[in-house]
């Protein structure tokens, strides 16, 4: 637990250092002799950060490697997300590093504020459950943007290592563990001639509500879940679309359902984007939860 937190902290510190760039005059002298060091790819082609920190849509990881690094570069992204639901507030923040458009390492922290429900359940008003997620993703084949003459999508495999800080509580709810690992395969294709991006992801997971309610349940093991996104890009700086994510239903006392959302992402500059959307996260503990999704992302 402490180790995961420390890794997350060091990752973020490395990021901030990496974002400090030489002054313009030095940069201009260097640019004649050096290939571009950062941000070689096109606007929005690193996606945004999904709730667990990987490059993707709002809830679903994509096969794209986050940030704007090409196969000769290192890129990165940082994000903060809030989903304000009927009874709960979910927040997530973190960052990722993309290495040579091949490997992505991400670290993020999710928190789940129970607000009034916490008081009703005797946990205390505003009782929070916090989870740390470390992510790895490897692009195996394909280039979602450049391979416009092939049907082959960009394909990546990934893993998300999650650790929840409320082991006692989630076991009392029926979960088997406060730690768990998700594995996924994502296929992403930009149909540029139609200004449309499509993603499909299959995830093997034991996580209850992303891991916020622990991992596994009585007699339940891993399950394979499907996730998908479709986005239309009417302009270079704008995308809107739809996502879904199915989830296990492991806990007898807290029904779980699929999540879906409708989103609009706007990138006023190449380095900043804002995503807003309507999220329907399905049944969580008390009842069906819908609300507003807002996320800010910076990528280089």
């Amino acid at each position: 637990m402490k180790r995961v937190r420390a890794i997350a902290a060091y990752t973020l510190a490395a990021f901030l250092l990496a974002m400090v760039q030489p002054s313009p005059s030095v940069a201009q002298d260097l640019v004649q002799d050096m290939p571009q060091a950062f941000s070689g790819r096109l606007k929005l082609t690193g996606g945004v950060n999904q709730i667990e920190g990987a490059a993707g849509g709002g809830f679903t990881p994509w096969a794209l490697i986050g940030g704007y690094g090409t196969k000769d570069q290192v890129g990165g992204a940082m994000f903060a997300t809030q989903v304000t639901l009927d009874d709960f507030t979910v927040q997530s923040f973190g960052g990722l590093i993309g290495w040579r458009n091949r490997l992505e390492i991400s670290a993020a922290q999710q928190s789940f504020d129970t607000r009034e429900v916490g008081a009703a359940l005797g946990l205390g008003r505003g009782f929070k459950i916090t989870q740390n997620t470390m992510g790895l993703k490897i692009r195996l084949v394909g280039d979602a943007v450049l391979d416009q003459d092939r049907l082959l999508p960009q394909i990546a495999v990934g893993a998300q290592f999650k650790s929840n800080d409320r082991g006692g509580l989630v076991r009392a709810l029926g979960a088997q563990d406060s730690q768990g690992t998700d594995y996924y395969v994502s296929a992403t294709k930009l149909f540029l001639a139609h200004s449309t991006l499509v993603n499909l992801t299959v995830r093997s997971t034991q996580a209850n509500q992303y891991g916020i309610l622990g991992f596994g349940g009585l007699g339940k093991g891993r399950s394979l879940e499907s996730e998908g996104s479709i986005a239309y890009l009417p302009r270079q700086d704008l995308a809107f679309g739809f996502e879904w994510r199915t989830k296990p239903d492991n806990l007898a006392i807290a029904k779980e359902e699929a999540a879906m959302d409708l989103f609009v992402a706007y990138a006023p500059t190449k380095n900043w984007s804002v995503t807003a959307g309507y999220a329907d996260l399905g049944h969580i503990v008390t009842r069906s939860q819908t609300g507003l999704y807002v996320s800010v992302n910076t990528s280089f």
């Binding site: 571009q36 090409t70 091949r102 790895l136 416009q148 893993a159 270079q236």
Partner: protein, 169 residues
């Protein structure tokens, strides 16, 4: 958890070592010449009209060329070449793709293969083209139709193996 973590780190490291080695074609011999230009993609004149006809396309191409030559990231690749001739080839290539009634007579795109052009250089050129098309009021759908045909040229244009990251003196 940490056992699976180390398994994944191991897997990722091996993929870094293995995948680039098998994915990149040998630098020699040169890849077989594809058709000298990208295919004509429009059946009618809707696309060329979205570019303002031959006249609009010519003005956009001239603006694109100006932007490229002023772009410090990539201007160096054009030093010592006949800019008017390159602009003419670009115009003919775009015009043929858009079914505008032209024929591209330039060489195969793989003549770029040994110029040391990186993926970032290729995308810088695309950004200049997008800026020129937007400045000339080409609608986004039409821009993307042209870019979708040009994008696979990256395989012929980008240097194999990649240009090293060290400064070149």
């Amino acid at each position: 958890m940490f056992r699976s973590l180390s398994l994944w780190i191991g897997l990722s490291l091996s993929s870094i070592l293995v995948v680039p080695a098998v994915a990149q074609p040998a630098p020699l011999p040169l890849p077989p010449a594809r058709s000298a230009t990208a295919p004509t993609i429009a059946q009618d004149d809707r696309l060329i009209r979205a570019f303002g006809g031959q006249e609009g396309l010519r003005a956009m191409t001239a603006d694109f060329m100006r932007r490229v030559l002023a772009d410090q990231r990539i201007a160096i690749f054009f030093v010592g070449f006949d800019h008017a001739k390159i602009e003419g080839h670009l115009y003919n290539q775009f015009c043929q793709i858009l079914n505008g009634g032209c024929v591209y007579t330039g060489r195969d795109m793989n003549i770029h293969a040994h110029m040391g052009i990186t993926e970032a250089d290729f995308y810088a050129l695309v950004e200049d083209l997008q800026a020129a098309m937007t400045a000339h009021k080409v609608p986004n759908w039409a821009q993307n139709k042209l870019l979708a045909v040009l994008a696979p040229q990256a395989r012929d244009v980008i240097a194999v193996p990649s240009k090293p990251l060290e400064p070149q003196n």
